[in-house]
Symmetry: C2
Subunit: 145 residues, 2 copies
């Protein structure tokens, strides 16, 4: 499945940035799923310099192309809502598996209600649930036995 770059290209050029090989590679890496900075660096080793990976991810974040996702004690970069539907995650504390869950009206009405109280203008939110996935809780039982 080929990746459609038209949207990123458009975002970059609209802010006066150019579409280059390193930027393409970094974008492609993130497209493959949420990744830590070091994962991207490793993946592109020899092709994109460490420093450029940092700079590119920073730029992408500023332009809202990607966002940070905090999982346990590390963070990963994930494509932003313009590229993949807004969603949240169930994160397993044992195997680090990530299950996507969909957003709910509940969440949005909660955000609106609380923000209004403080005259706060929400621009984004993050909601992660940590715990133990079904596979790991099965294994846990075996260990405990």
């Amino acid at each position: 499945m080929a990746i459609d770059y038209s949207k990123v290209k458009k975002i970059l050029s609209s802010y006066g940035y150019s579409w280059t090989r390193p930027r393409e590679l970094v974008f492609k890496a993130i497209t493959g799923g949420p990744k830590t900075i070091s994962a991207v660096i490793k993946l592109e080793q020899g092709k994109v310099d460490r420093v450029s990976v940092y700079r590119t991810l920073q730029l992408f974040e500023e332009l809202g192309i990607i966002h940070r996702l905090y999982l346990g004690w590390k963070y990963k970069f994930e494509l932003s809502d313009q590229f993949i539907a807004h969603h949240h995650h169930l994160v397993c504390n044992f195997c680090a598996k990530v299950i996507d869950i969909e957003d709910e009206q509940h969440i949005n009405s909660f955000i609106k209600k609380e923000s209004d109280k403080f005259d706060f203008k929400p621009t984004s939110h993050q909601f992660e649930i940590e715990g133990v996935c079904s596979d790991c809780s099965a294994k846990q039982l075996l260990v405990a036995a």
Copy 2:
């Protein structure tokens, strides 16, 4: 206002850890509000070694005394729900102000519903809303004018 250490002391001793001066100072630092590791290090400079701050925060986190709070691109440590009521935050992207908001039944029922779908056992969750606070949006308007 004096700090009541009985609860932390109890937690530490129940796991076989002792209540020491460095641990007291680090705990006190966090009691003063969410802080980054380096903020704690700076605050206790000369009194507690850098390395001990790391080790103590790590221990406190393992024992559930504190938890990490991801705000923007840094994380801070905050007292856990046993010490201060469980809550979420509105984080201002301009002045970094943090407004505490209370938890809601909405959130819990959402977590239960989604977790059940995947036979997932939730142990904790994190929910942060970023945006612009009322003060900063007032200033923004001035700049724009």
